[in-house]
């Protein structure tokens, strides 16, 4: 299975800066691709386009040769956001948040170090790092084929970072899920990814 972005161009509204210009990238489902670029070069925007949150001005995203927009219901390309508190409903308990995912296996919950005690809490009652683990778990549903990790570990301490990345590498290897990792930190990407692609080099 391959996730392809073909000749993507994008800018936010007319007259604003061209963020992505005729950009193409293909990711196989056994690959871990790193995306690196300074701030403002469209890393997050690219993730949003790849997972269907944003429509590109030109170009198209294909999953297995079919346009991503033709997939209805559960989207096989799941994005994990930089700020978990924005993607979790503040009025739902964390148990409900996990249920939103597509049949999350208990081994994922354990592997991410999510504790039983956290499940009964509201998002306001757990820390950002704890919440991010829930978001990662939620994205790893049964039908997920690609994971886009947009700066997912920036708010975590180093030990937790390595714990989460090791888990993600193992899990994506085991289930043949393609991974796209976005980060400012080159050493992190070098350790995690099988290849690295720079957005700022033309």
């Amino acid at each position: 299975m391959v996730l392809e972005a073909k000749n993507i161009s994008f800018r936010y509204g007319k007259g604003s800066r061209q963020i992505l210009d005729d950009f193409s990238l293909a990711i196989e489902n056994h690959e871990r691709v790193g995306i690196a670029a300074p701030s403002g070069f469209g890393k997050t925007t690219f993730c949003k386009i790849l997972s269907g949150y944003e429509k590109p001005d030109q170009g198209e995203v294909y999953l297995d040769g079919q346009p991503l927009s033709s997939y209805k219901g559960y989207c096989p390309v799941q994005m994990i956001w930089q700020h978990p508190e924005q993607v979790v409903n503040p009025r739902l308990r964390m148990r409900e948040v996990l249920k939103e995912g597509d049949g999350i296996e208990p081994c994922i919950i354990q592997g991410l170090g999510i504790e039983e005690d956290w499940l009964n809490r509201f998002p306001a009652e757990i820390s950002g790092g704890e919440m991010q683990r829930f978001c990662i778990a939620r994205a790893l549903g049964k039908r997920t084929k690609f994971i886009l990790a947009d700066e997912i570990s920036t708010m975590l301490d180093l030990i937790t970072q390595s714990q989460i990345w090791n888990f993600l590498i193992e899990e994506t290897k085991r289930r043949q899920i393609g991974l796209l990792a976005v980060s400012h930190s080159m050493p992190l990407l070098e350790n995690v990814c099988t290849r690295i692609c720079r957005l700022d080099e033309k």
């Binding site: 269907g52 559960y74 989207c75 409903n89 409900e96 306001a124």
Partner: protein, 274 residues
């Protein structure tokens, strides 16, 4: 024994307020006949003993009249507040979901209704509907929906763009389930609190247009009627005719406010552990 926490206190306050309002409503209903009884052998009695709120110039028991009046006010308030809140909910959701033209139209109507002084519009509508019970309810309902409609419109607009709703769409959740699971828990508290906080407004406006003579008919023992009649007798030193009904009216309004605020606190997820 469990320690009494903030939430239990708030819940108790809410319960007490609701119970008290309920008792007033039922008691007012039960004594509706007695409130009309005149007895010249006991006229103009000052408060105390058998008549704790005193009696008026026709020998009517002011305590019972006040209760009946308040009961009437509460019923009108509940009816009008419910109608206007449902109107606000429907129009607010329509404005936020039915596209630009519908939004512009509904926002324009909201501005229009808000732009006219409440009491003026109330009098006009009430008069057009032939005054009385119907006129007051329609008038209050048609003037009090605007601010809640705005709140609901804003809330829905915000929810539509919220990342957690968009993420739920990507997780394959149906529109109906999103509305139920993600939107309703946000809208319901707003709606309920808005509804309860409309009661005091409705009651006060009912009393004021009745006071001005555009509301309930004069034979009805309503708070507005009692207050406007007592105006003539204030100068003769019969202060109790206005003081107690007025105080009780304020008390009822405060109770509704307390009930609404307590409910808001209880429904706020930030307060689960207080």
């Amino acid at each position: 024994m469990r320690r009494i926490n903030g939430r239990m206190m708030t819940a108790a306050l809410l319960g007490a307020a609701v119970l008290f309002l309920f008792v007033i409503t039922v008691a007012g209903h039960m004594y509706a006949e007695e409130a009309l009884v005149t007895d010249f052998s006991r006229k103009d009695l000052s408060p105390g003993g058998a008549y704790i709120f005193g009696t008026d110039w026709l020998g009517r028991d002011m305590f019972i009249r006040t209760l009946t009046g308040l009961s009437m006010s509460i019923q009108i308030g509940i009816l009008a507040a419910c109608v206007s809140s449902v109107l606000a909910l429907i129009l607010g959701v329509l404005a936020a979901t039915m596209g630009k033209t519908a939004d512009a139209l509904i926002t324009w109507v909201i501005d229009l209704v808000m732009g006219i002084p409440h009491i003026l519009l109330l009098i006009l509508i009430s008069y057009a509907f032939g005054k009385g019970f119907k006129g007051v309810v329609v008038g209050v309902a048609l003037t009090h929906w605007t601010s809640l409609a705005r709140v609901i419109r804003g809330e829905v607009l915000q929810l539509k763009e919220a990342l957690y709703i968009r993420a739920a769409q990507k997780l394959g959740m149906s529109q109906l389930k999103i509305a139920w699971k993600h939107m309703l828990p946000h809208l319901f508290p707003q709606f309920l609190v808005g509804l309860i906080l409309t009661f005091p407004h409705a009651i006060l406006h009912e009393a004021s247009i009745t006071f001005l003579g555009f509301g309930l008919p004069p034979e009805q023992p309503a708070i507005g009627i009692i207050l406007s009649e007592s105006m003539k007798y204030l100068a003769m030193g019969r202060w109790w005719l206005a003081l107690f009904p007025g105080l009780l009216l304020v008390f009822t309004v405060v109770l509704f406010d307390v009930a609404g605020e307590s409910l808001r606190k209880l429904l706020d997820p930030g307060s689960t552990h207080k």
